[in-house]
Symmetry: C2
Amino acid sequence: MATLGDIGVAAAFNIISVVVFLVAFAFLRLQPMFDMVYFPKWYLKGVRISPNRSGVKKFVNLEWRSYLRILEWVPAALKMPEPELIEHAGLDSAVYLRIYLIGLKIFIPITFLAFAVLVPVNWTNKTLELSRDNGTKLVYSDIDKLSISNIPEGSQRFFAHLVMAYVFTFWTCYVLLKEYEIVASMRLQFLETEQRRADQFTVLVRNVPPDPDESVSELVEHFFLVNHSDHYLTHQVVYNANELQKLVKKKKSKQNWLAYNELRYEKNPSKRPTKKTGFLGLCGEKVDSIDFYREEIERLSKEETILREKTKGNPKSIMPAAFVSFRTRWGAAVCAQTQQCRNPTIWLTEWAPEPRDVYWENLAVPFVLLTLKRLIAAVAFFFLTFFFMIPIAFVQSLANLEGIEKAAPFLRPLIEVKFIKSFIQGLLPGIALKIFLILLPTILMMLSKFEGLVSISALERRSASKYYIFLLVNVFLGSIIAGTAFQQLDSFIHQSANEIPKTIGVSIPMKATFFITYIMVDGWSGIAGEIMRLKPLIIFKLKDMFLVKTEKDREEAMDPGSIGFDTSEPQIQLYFLLGLVYAVVTPFLLPFIIIFFAMAYIVYRHQIINVYNQEYESRGAFWPDVHGRIITALVISQLLLMGLLSTKGAAQSTPFLVVLPVLTIWFHWFCKNRYEPAFKRYPLQEALRQDTRERTKEPNLDLKGYLLNAYIHPVFKDEDDDDSLSGQNEKELETILVPTKRQSRRNTPVPSKYNGSSSPSLADAALDQQL
Amino acid sequence: MATLGDIGVAAAFNIISVVVFLVAFAFLRLQPMFDMVYFPKWYLKGVRISPNRSGVKKFVNLEWRSYLRILEWVPAALKMPEPELIEHAGLDSAVYLRIYLIGLKIFIPITFLAFAVLVPVNWTNKTLELSRDNGTKLVYSDIDKLSISNIPEGSQRFFAHLVMAYVFTFWTCYVLLKEYEIVASMRLQFLETEQRRADQFTVLVRNVPPDPDESVSELVEHFFLVNHSDHYLTHQVVYNANELQKLVKKKKSKQNWLAYNELRYEKNPSKRPTKKTGFLGLCGEKVDSIDFYREEIERLSKEETILREKTKGNPKSIMPAAFVSFRTRWGAAVCAQTQQCRNPTIWLTEWAPEPRDVYWENLAVPFVLLTLKRLIAAVAFFFLTFFFMIPIAFVQSLANLEGIEKAAPFLRPLIEVKFIKSFIQGLLPGIALKIFLILLPTILMMLSKFEGLVSISALERRSASKYYIFLLVNVFLGSIIAGTAFQQLDSFIHQSANEIPKTIGVSIPMKATFFITYIMVDGWSGIAGEIMRLKPLIIFKLKDMFLVKTEKDREEAMDPGSIGFDTSEPQIQLYFLLGLVYAVVTPFLLPFIIIFFAMAYIVYRHQIINVYNQEYESRGAFWPDVHGRIITALVISQLLLMGLLSTKGAAQSTPFLVVLPVLTIWFHWFCKNRYEPAFKRYPLQEALRQDTRERTKEPNLDLKGYLLNAYIHPVFKDEDDDDSLSGQNEKELETILVPTKRQSRRNTPVPSKYNGSSSPSLADAALDQQL
């Protein structure tokens, strides 16, 4: 069992590494040569053109004065007011930051209260000391003296914990309520002041029934002309361009390879690069690389032209789905929120995602298949969650020091060194978990895609839900209770409903030290690593040195991606869970949580301002999920406290504690009814107000022209706009024609993460070869 | 333990009583003097005016020929085709009958299969005989030899049960799917061919926000003129007439008493009736009854006039709710199915219930109070469900013969008579349950009302859900496992998740005989009693003899009420549950279920055609609930079978059985997505089609005039139409002005069941006195 000393060592190690990272970042960000890594957002926005700011014109910043203000990025990150942040990085980012803020709002008062009330109550007992004196070989650390473990069985002092559980619950709910209110009004405010966007007028229609006499396009037009005669404006059919897209991707990859080989040849003109045509370039005939790729590209270009014509001309490649646009937002709101046809499986309407948010591959899944796919995905997820744990438990059992000593006695002298022992004990379990977790999001995203969701934002939200469940089962429960996950499931099935919270609850205080180190390793160091951007830094520099030839290449190499809601949010939720569970049990853990939330808030605010570039704007649509998961954490914490107290001879507290989850769930239900509609529906009053305002401002607007090409599959978009738009007034254009040049380029067809295989750029291809 | 002989006695007794009831009914229905009890529906419809049919002109039918066709009512009940039935008694009734039909469709094939496969498999074992030979004092009956109990532990024969569980599940799901499809299309068909009704054009708006400058009426008008400018037609505010209604009710009661006393004086002119004015007429000053009531009525009439003016004139008595009518069904459909305002707790719109379906008292509950009330109702229901069981268990423990003998040894000689013993053993537990169940629906309806639902149909559906849960916990589980309900809950909490199905599953085969007698007592005899209508028969005859003076009185005395979805449907569901649970375990129970469903179908078809008068038309809105509960029964049966098999040494079957509930729940989810929208939403295409048809048929329709008074509180309606409409063309009028004279009279303000206290008629008042 880790002592306070162990934790001290781990904390010191982590603090040092965090400080090192922060100092390194503070230093590197001032170097012009890394400017594109640490400030890509500004390049993408067109505010910065060249890394050389006024005065500083070299690769390395030699002006010593700037180093004096080494921490200036912190106030800079905090300085930007929220409305400006929304303007700069979108509502999603601003709302995302509020998750960290809500963590601070919940836990700072809780920590003060817990330290003022619970710590004295716990500390002034002698249960643990006495039990040691009595000869029961109980090993305990100083942390346990601060925790609920130090209270004797059946003590009246548990009353304090009971009251605190109520206070913490009410405070958390109060903060959640306020925050839900703020976010909902932010969203509505954003919707109201938003500029004209194609998706405000557009509805996605799916499962258009087949008709022998009419094409999909005619059918859609007739249906909406009849049923929404006053409001229908135009529509766009959806082509099944998946094949074409593959071809385009393939061609692009070959082009990258060609460019790479030409570059090699340029640098070393004495030797023309060669390549084997067989599997992975390992076998087969040897050919001249440049010629080979040139031929390939030529062949693919021809194929592409043919396929392009074929796709556009062939009625079979038109999917039974369409984007239908209306004259007014009111008309679109009506159509999106009502049922069109008596058969509820055809003519399904929903709000169209914004053009860059569309996940094109899933637009044509029929209804029956959709329900079947969901079943399969659910079963697959169940097995993933419960059988993925076996390897984790295996590694964790290795992390047991006694186990290692037994398995490899020759390591004993090394392990017995106090510092190393603490190090291993503090870090190993956390790292083992971390490695496993890196593999996971991709699988979960694949599962979500399989389910047939039609927008990237929905995919990310779904993946986040899955990931949260996974973390809950595997990291939280998996760390508290030993044994493989499936063994746990098995034991839970064989345990009674009131035994389960007891089993977990009893282990909770004992695992406090483990979770403290986990917070430091996963949370603190993770954030420090985040701001350093070590991997993007190296990759960008490599690309920049070897491969970037044009500005376009540089821009592509610089692309920082988005913040990744699907992985980052569930991880934050784990800290909420830990904080709420340990608030009453071991308040000593709370400061670590607060430090995490505070650091994360500053760092992510900096990153959102300077680095990340949002891929879509869902207007904070994920908040109901965030809210729901904090509520889940709250209920779990209440149940576990109930279990814990009933083993501590305080079973008479159970009736008082049972009230808490009931009230909490009711509170959730209340919030759901009160605020969730703001995230799911679009009130007609708002729609009308915006319509009216627009009509007075721009009475002669050519809406049809504006909407005409808004929802064209990006693969067709590429044709037209290759370089026809200049980069300068890009930002301005973005607000008018939504999928602008840059976005459509980045979306060729959609960001790599959503494509299974990534669309390899020149740089990627080369790196693959080199690394 | 009841033997086959006991069951035989109980069955014989029940069959005899059923036959007696049926013969009595067949005889009584031919008597003209009972015509109004057995055929009130026809009187209400205006088809029959006088009980004396052509030829038969006396009180007693003396024509012997008609007695030869004593069972002619059975084919007569079955003869009416479904479309005519819908026309005659409404869609709700027709769909309600399909619940019995679905029972037959599910269980007849299952019974054949079970008897063909499972009975031989069970019968050809000797487990029970052997265990008796071995001296383990196992008492078993012949029924158990037909059940799964007769299979030795770990036998390969369980494979047959496993396969049958699959077959039964698939068959049930198939029937459910087909039936959902049929009912959904019946509903849509009905909606399409339905005549013009006020609720097609009307939306109920609740939580109109208070405004200092405008009245509710102005506010509503302005809001909808702005936000639905093309479609808004008119609106009606809702008055808080609860006080006025109480007064009207009181006055009516006094009027009845007056009429009663006048009648008494008429019959016995020598003595003027007197009355004491104190509590319940038991103490206080003695006064002349007729004078007293005359004065009272005069006083109340004055009060009423004042209150009526005050209510109509006072803006404070206008509730923040309104019925808003639109020009077209399309406009109403749009408004009912969208959110109006950015704050989702104000301007709540939903489809208006049809006028006679409105539950006026609940129209003004604000949003926050609504959620709070639901919480309280849920908690109250929980306690009701789990603490109501204590008396039942007490009575059941008395029903234990050995217990009675011990408690009252002097009864021993009586009880030991074989016939009486069988009788008590067979009937007592069932009767004890039955008595308790009679008390329940009123309480549940009060709980539902407290929750704030705004239509009677919704109230009945909600009460039905509660009642089903109650029956499931108390009748089903309560009968299987001994001990009070709270003890059970307690033991379930202390048992593991896989132990619970085992505990219940093991007891299932042993309880087969109990449930068989329950089916006979509750099901068979209940139905026979239903068709006899003994209670209405006596009451009507008493009323008719003593009290009926005018045709209006007679009509009121005749009112048969509605079928009572809130109590009858959950009871049917109990038979579905029993049938599905025992299908694999003790197939011997199935024929009893089939007889129940067959008899119930015929009897209720007869009753719906000839007796009941629906109070509202929800167009089969309850079907999703019915479907959901059969699915619940299916899942319960699967889980219990899993538990049972795992105790029989067939634990290896568990993985195969786990698949079943997963598939069943998925099937439910699929059906919910596929068919439920037909019951919740109104597709725009349909709305438009009806609008168009109407426009071509009646281009000059005065819709505003038609809708003007459709949603007036019945207490105000009474004023105008007291006897202004003649009775002759009533049926015709009904289709135009929905709350017609008769209905509005019956609805003064709503049927007694929904008023807490009933509105006493002359007849009731007198009966109260006499009985």
